[in-house]
């Protein structure tokens, strides 16, 4: 992968059949680097399956899938895991936080778990800057067990971003928040993605939220 590569995601002839018989088809789809895309569709249309495919957690039944320079469909599991840890952040609905830790400690958790990362002062600085950008600057030392649902989601977002991914995959990340909080959370995420040059794929049911994103992919319909 090179920085000059204009594509973050490239899908060709993708087809994936789940265990319950559902078939996801995506003949051709590309996402430019730095793009912000809303992924829409009714329940069961394959939105989460698509994100799991892009994260390299599962492989398609057929087709070619390239994410941030790696052809996932031609890579083994170890390569996909290493690629995911380095370049892809997946933020799910109600992403858990460790209640035993403070806000800052939760954000820095990837540095304690992943062998390729070093917990140094630069990492701490970045964590604090992200928390400040996400409106959690005053809660750095608060225990995660004392956070609201919205605050937890923002902590999870900061934790996803702290390792400098290139692609941020958000799966119904604001589904548990009220509309105002969800909109605020999306705004913050977009701002950070703009500043960091991240590609953002935001899965949502909420058409209002989807309208805030410049591009949209509709599964089970037309984009």
């Amino acid at each position: 992968m090179s920085e000059a590569d204009p594509l973050s995601v490239e899908v060709e002839g993708l087809s994936h059949t789940t265990a319950d018989g559902f078939v996801l088809r995506l003949p051709r789809w590309t996402v430019s680097r730095g793009a912000q895309v809303a992924v829409l569709g009714p329940s069961g249309s394959g939105k989460t399956t698509l994100l799991r495919l892009l994260a390299g957690l599962i492989l398609p039944t057929s087709g070619r899938l390239l994410v941030e320079g790696l052809v996932l469909t031609e890579s083994d599991e170890a390569a996909r895991r290493a690629h995911r840890q380095q370049h892809v952040a997946l933020l799910q609905q109600d992403s858990p936080v460790m209640e035993a830790l403070t806000v800052e400690e939760n954000v820095l958790l990837p540095f304690r778990l992943s062998p390729g990362r070093t917990l140094d002062e630069a990492a701490r600085d970045r964590a604090r800057r992200l928390l400040l950008a996400l409106g959690l600057g005053g809660l750095v030392h608060r225990g995660a067990d004392r956070l609201s649902a919205g605050e937890r989601q923002r902590v999870a977002l900061a934790r996803a971003l702290v390792v400098r991914p290139r692609l941020l995959l958000c799966d119904e990340a604001t589904a548990s928040l009220d509309p105002a909080a969800a909109a605020r959370s999306l705004n913050l995420t977009q701002t950070v993605c703009d500043e960091e040059g991240l590609t953002l794929l935001w899965v949502t049911h909420d058409l209002g939220l989807a309208a805030r994103l410049p591009q949209r992919l509709l599964l089970g319909g037309e984009a």
């Binding site: 858990p96 460790m98 035993a100 990837p110 304690r112 062998p115 934790r159």
Partner: protein, 388 residues
Amino acid sequence: MASVHAFGHALWLAWRALLHRPGQAAVIVLGVSFALAAPRFTLQASELVEGLLMSRAESSPILLGAKGAPVELTLAGLFFTGRPQDPTPYAALAEARRWGEAAPLVVRHSAGGAPVVGTSVEYLERRGLTVREGRRFAVLGELLAGASVADRAGLKPGDQLRSDGVNPNDLGAAAPLLLQVVGVLAPTGGPDDGALFTDVRTTWALDGALHGHGAATPETLAGEDADGQALNSAVMLAEEAALESLSGFHLHGEMSDQPISAVLLWPRDDKARDQLLGEVALHPRLMAVQPPEVMARLWSMALQARRGLWVIFAAVGLTTAAFVAQTLSLSLRLRAPERALWRDLGASRRRVALIVGVELAVLFGAAALLALGLSELGLWALQAALAP
């Protein structure tokens, strides 16, 4: 280096997780530690007691005393507790000296709550008792205090100590004696530290058999004192006489007939020991006991009781193990999302296993340390309780 970092992070995460659930951690640590500490304490305590009892017994080869209960004779002769059922005549000492070195023991008096042991200098020498302060007893009425007794009562050479009174309703009993402390022994860690040693004749004075007389006149035989109480002053107040008028003391009856509790004998060799045991076995009034054998028999009975305890400890251990396994299993299930998060954040399966393993190791390590501390504390308390 990477593995050191991984371990450090795992330890940090485990520590934070345990601090977040201190109640659950404390219950597990306490349960496991008690299950571990109880058998360890029992084992070590029994070894400690066995060591104390047997070392004392091993240094006391043979006790001669009146026929009766060997256990009581052994306890009196070694630990100055209880007393033999019947006294032995002092003449047994001379008999015993035919086979080796011997010391008389009289164990039936006390002063300040501590046993007063009538004996001879042979006892002090064979037991290796050295004087820390002052000197050994030399004349009637002098006491040599064991280290613990002296420390507890603040005794030092020159102090006086009154022997404990007998039954006040026993009009025939001898009056308490005021005894002179002339020395304090160095500590030994054994029963000698808790005793007061004196010459065997002083104990006869405590019995009243050795005494001095004042001038017997009609006035003193049954006079009235200032409080209007009837006195018999024919027998001098021993506490005064012992200190001031030793030359006037005399013994009623033969010295060889005076009562002693036992004779502690160190045979000169195996042959002498065997001859002694053979002769005494035929004696109509004396018996010879070998304290190591008596204590070993006593201890084997205690060991049988300990075997019963192991069954209880095994049951407690199994119950605790089941409880801990259930608690940990529930905790692991409840924290499955946490482990899934670690995997999502890049932890390998090995790293997740390391974190869980370290948390368990911290829990069980803390329990083991606490168990060690508890059992050591128990042993310390036991040693303090067993101290003379």
